[in-house]
Symmetry: C2
Subunit: 457 residues, 2 copies
């Protein structure tokens, strides 16, 4: 089977999926009793078209038809290539999630059976209430809510806790959304320095708390630290940091954007007051989605319900949570998260093997002399920052395609997701690849190095 | 063709879609070069399965296979029934949107070609930047951003404009998310009374502004009014209200949750400072999604970029917008909105006919003596609050299924979406139904009335 045959078959898979959506639309436009003549004709024509697509799909034959949707190209990256994109890896949908969004794509699709008290997390059909309970249990926290992205989880916490001018302890590797969450709440970020290994230690956090206390004569209102940061995906001592937070009686927000959904996270064991995770980054869910979990102690504050009363009508929407703006994910996003959840629970148990694959890949990767790893080693994560200044960048210097030669070579071998054109420092993620895909990626790197006469160990 | 044949064919359509997703997963797990023996076998088996499903689909034969996804039932309401749900009608996906989410469901699917300055609305491939420009033009405003639901648009505005204790003028029919948006920003709602026709007039707004000025010795900071409210979908005088707002130099937020995407909205003509629309309610997009548009005058404030600087690292993420928390809709939600957009633009031109269908339906509906309309008449919208206390509720009083008898009867005729069990006041929406579907729905109402010996005009 040639690559182009596979490529054609993928194209035909999309054609078939799209044609089935055309078919589905005929049902939607028809009367309950069934088709009229014109609809029946359209139906038969579409079925015939699907049959013919299917024959081509089976044989890898035929000509590609147009699969553009308006101005959008069909996105076939995940089918055609091995994708090592740093932030896309664990947000790829499971087949279950893809089926769920086919089924629940329509706007307010979660709301068919919304009954009193009219709040998303109380809906029992589909079992959204149950999912919320499972989610809290999964993180070993008391309560959980879904939110439109981890950032909206940070925001709910900062806006609940901060007064104007209050300080929040963050990492020197904090994600920009943590900065924004503090800023939107009127707070000020105070960064904890990294140690020589680019790690945030509990001691450094304690020192920063003291420094803030000295400077402002107040304790910081919140400590918000990433378990694994977005730059190096180094593991920071969240257990020790939570202990420091407890000693100072400052609430601790555990940023699990790079852990929740891929490795086990035990909120009680960590000692977290808040856990935030990302659906589209690490829980195989459509964007924007995420989770905010907390303890029974903090829930009344973070998930406080509205107190606003209409001055004239005296209306009050008592059950709606202020920081969540009422309901949050009313459709495909939530349902994709729910559909992926059983597999997500399962996959966190196999995190060790994912890390193993990551380390195997990087071992091979470093056989090219001049290629290095900027993240901590051995890796404890599948996301890694690498440095190829001493290897592939030396080729880029004289190649007419500059750094893009590297992207070209990778793509030719069926690999995408590196930052196109970058041959100095860049990031990659092996999460979710099969061993065969990991080996192929490693082999490809060595092959490219060989082609350009780089030294290989 | 019997209903059960159609029902089976819909089932088979889902089976085929789901089986194609299984097929797609084989590609995702394979190597770029192609399948190994085991994968090839799986591929052939799945293709064979699809062929057999397709034969059943064509003939309406065979047995239904399981299409549950974990704990989720496949949602076939839109295919099997005419759906008159009050808030779902205009959020149903177009076929284009369904194709887009099939293609772009994966978490960060919009981010393949994210380049400097690294912000969602600047991405050119897919053409997200262009879409943002088109969206602003569509609303005749200067700038637009997508947001995770209309509520997050309100919030961006209130949090940008309000200080603690500031007042905001809202309608006595304001949606709860408007209350929350004011509350989360520390403000206070001040409701404008309705006139005898359940309408908000410009004069009433002016009087309320004066009352607030008298009470607080300050002008309100914002006037936020729904063009069509969620209760009656009555049309409120947004043109006159915008004029009042201008006279007082108070910014005006036009809530277009029930207009943007279904009827023409011209921000400049209205005189709006902010326009908020809902993707999943009225723009045929997946949830949560929405739009916030504004003028060049207000954009620097509402879309202000971060000023926060890391005290230690001096990091600054200058291009990221504070109230949007950086990027907003990074995947399927946005792409569904983009894919639906050409059809959404087109359909707003046919709003008059939608209103015509609504009025035709209600004319028939009122032929049942004792059935009335609580919304203004003739209708200017497709969402309507009706009152059947004097008709169907009289049946419910003695029926063993109580109000559910009405739902049963509707469902038997292929109609869903009314509030199950409600036979007094309830809401319905005819948006997007074909004339044939509207007529069938009207006929069904009359048929049910006849069956229970209600008087018909």
């Amino acid at each position: 089977m040639s690559t182009s045959k596979k490529s054609l078959q993928i194209q035909k898979t999309y054609e078939a999926l799209f044609a089935l959506e055309d078919l589905r639309e005929i049902f939607r436009q028809s009367l309950p009793a069934g088709f009229d003549e014109e609809e029946q004709e359209k139906f038969s024509g579409t079925v015939a078209r699907i049959k013919s697509i299917l024959a081509d799909l089976e044989n890898g034959s035929g000509k590609p038809a147009c699969t553009r949707v308006g101005k959008l190209d069909a996105r076939t990256r995940e089918e055609e290539f091995i994708n090592i994109h740093p932030i896309q890896a664990a947000g790829r949908l499971t087949p279950e999630a893809r089926k769920a969004i086919i089924s629940y794509g329509d706007g307010y699709s979660t709301c068919d059976y919304c009954r009193k008290p009219f709040r998303l997390d109380k809906i029992t059909r589909p079992p959204i209430e149950e999912f919320h309970q499972d989610l809290a249990k999964f993180l070993n926290m008391d309560q959980a809510r879904v939110v439109p992205g981890a950032r909206r989880g940070f925001q709910a916490v900062t806006q609940s806790l901060l007064e104007k001018g209050d300080c929040v302890i963050v990492s020197s590797l904090a994600h920009y959304t943590e900065f924004l969450a503090v800023e939107v709440a009127g707070g000020i970020v105070k960064e904890v320095p990294l140690d020589d290994n680019n790690l945030i230690t509990a001691e450094a956090v304690a020192l920063k708390v003291e420094a803030v206390r000295k400077e402002t004569e107040k304790l910081p209102k919140l400590i918000m630290i990433d378990h694994f940061d977005y730059q190096f995906a180094n593991e920071h001592d969240v257990y020790g940091i939570a202990k420091v937070a407890r000693e100072y009686d400052i609430p601790f927000l555990y940023n699990g954007a790079y852990t929740v959904g891929i490795k086990p996270v035990d909120g009680k064991k960590i000692g977290a007051d808040f856990i935030v995770g990302s659906g589209h980054k690490s829980m195989a869910a459509a964007a924007p989605s995420g989770v905010l979990a907390t303890t029974n102690e903090w829930a009344p504050r973070i998930f406080r319900t509205t107190e606003m009363i209409g001055d004239l009508t005296k209306r009050k929407f008592g059950v709606k949570e202020v920081e969540n703006m009422g309901c949050t994910l009313m459709g495909a996003t939530l349902l994709s998260m729910i559909a992926s959840f059983p597999r997500v629970q399962e996959r966190t148990k196999h995190w060790d093997e994912e890390v193993q694959k990551s380390n195997y890949f990087l071992e091979q990767f470093q056989r090219v002399l001049g290629s290095g790893i900027l993240s901590e080693t051995p890796r404890k994560h599948t996301l890694t920052k690498v440095d190829t200044t001493g290897s592939f960048d030396t080729v880029a210097k004289t190649h007419k395609r500059r750094g893009f030669f590297f992207s070209d070579e990778l793509k030719e071998r069926g690999i995408v997701g590196e930052f196109a054109g970058a041959t100095r420092t860049w990031k990659l993620n092996t999460y979710g690849l099969t061993w065969a895909q990991v080996k192929h990626t490693a082999d490809s790197i060595l092959e490219i190095a060989g082609k350009y006469k780089l030294n290989i160990n």
